[in-house]
Symmetry: C2
């Protein structure tokens, strides 16, 4: 099985040093698709990161991440837009497939979930012309409802795709199995996204039972309860054939050597994905 | 403000001793609606529990709990039905408003979420004639998607109400703010449930930011991000005027004296609910 369909989100191996060091580790395992985080790009500088990407013929399945649009006041929301424009610039310079958006949750002190959702819609609408001009698709990543308050108030595919429909071209979704595997409407919404060309990324990991930490106990593929082969078949049936991007936030795996993590990822990718 | 609209789920004060002791603590605070758990009823025996309920004119806003229908084999599913019938008997003996169902998650070793959901539907269909004959409404409690794998594979109001519609009379939902507050379709589904007389219970607590434990870090009303007054207004607009049942699974509150917990519950009920 070729590893062309495998991408490594750098959160999975953030213990591996700077941008260049993580790229080298990926290449050593035959992996040529990546998805870095902004601070890792900033660490070496955008120009150097883009050179590394080009020199090694790497594909960016996404750039992580923009978003966090809600803020208590207009100035906070304006600053968020400005920061998102820089993220768009970075994604463009590295020719990323998309800019992944973790859209943000409730502003500090707020209980107004609807208001926060409106701030996301307004923020994306303002950012979108800039992203279109740069040729960078914006990928809403619906996050698991567990994160509705503090990370992303878009929590289902349907809700996110409805927003994409309102915003129009240049928008879509990043479908992470961890966030959506439980959704009773998963199949119909994935099919809908595919029909409309709105699947921009496919992230994988696994859901552990029990999950002991809400943030950092995601599982390695095969160690949990998600039927990953069936999930991928559904994604491909919907017309998306881009890489499966491995994004594992895990205290356990972060404590292991990067080479061990990547070797395990490759083995699991070949057997259970 | 009268406390008639306030019910205490015994999980909130499980440190308070046996069934009778917890009832006494509730009465001391003017609380006359309760929702006990089966093991607390079994602890004193059903006949004694029913006597305590009758003698004190208590209202049971629910009996906790039936459910857990999925199992790896037919014998396991049959045993679950039998156990649920006993739970129906208990609810009937104590004249509970409903039997609350935590329907169960994936059978051990399974990744077949659809199959588990079918087992729930089949189990409820089998239990329902018995419950109808006993005059005990079955309340599906859609649980937060965080619990889809190990506690309940029904995770939204829409999904649960669709099942109620298929099953027919004698079924409805227990709407717990903790599990559904994030749902983008909350308003329309609450209204739908109200139109069809399917709201059987309303549970309250709060969602803390951050939530540090997936199971036992629910918040006291007012300490989190849920707009409880707006939520209750929505429930009443849908036609449900039964008690607000306080169910707080929390290591923090379980470590406090029962009188302190109940005094806090009463104060918050009067101010933020």
């Amino acid at each position: 099985m070729s590893l062309e369909g495998l991408s490594i989100n750098f959160a999975t191996v953030r213990q591996g040093g700077d941008f260049g060091a993580i790229v080298d580790a990926c290449l050593a395992h035959g992996i040529t698709a990546i998805s870095p985080w902004r601070e890792q790009v900033h660490g070496v500088g955008l120009a150097e990161a883009a050179r590394i990407v080009e020199r090694n013929g790497l594909r960016l399945s996404g750039h992580c991440r923009g978003g966090f649009f809600p803020a208590p006041d207009a100035e906070g929301r304006r600053l968020a837009i400005e920061d998102n424009k820089r993220a768009v610039d970075e994604a463009a310079a590295m020719k990323a497939d998309c800019l992944v958006l973790v859209v943000g949750g409730l502003p500090a002190g707020s209980r107004d979930l609807k208001g926060a959702r409106q701030m996301v819609e307004d923020g994306m609408a303002e950012l979108l012309p800039y992203a279109r001009a740069a040729g960078v698709p914006l990928a809403i990543e619906p996050l698991h409802p567990f994160y509705a308050a503090d990370r992303a108030c878009f929590n289902t595919l349907k809700q996110s795709l409805d927003l994409c429909d309102r915003l129009g071209s240049g928008t879509g979704v990043a479908i992470d199995v961890y966030h959506v595997w439980w959704d009773p409407e998963l199949e119909e919404q994935v099919a809908r996204a595919g029909r409309n060309g709105q699947i921009l990324a496919h992230h994988i990991c696994d859901w552990l039972v029990p999950t002991t930490d809400p943030l950092n106990d995601r599982g390695m593929m095969g160690d949990g309860v998600i039927d990953l082969k069936a999930f991928r078949a559904m994604i491909e049936a919907a017309g998306f054939h881009g890489p499966q991007e491995v994004e594992i936030f895990s205290h356990r795996w972060q404590a292991r050597p990067v080479d061990e993590v990547l070797a395990t990822v490759v083995e699991r990718f070949k057997t259970v994905c």
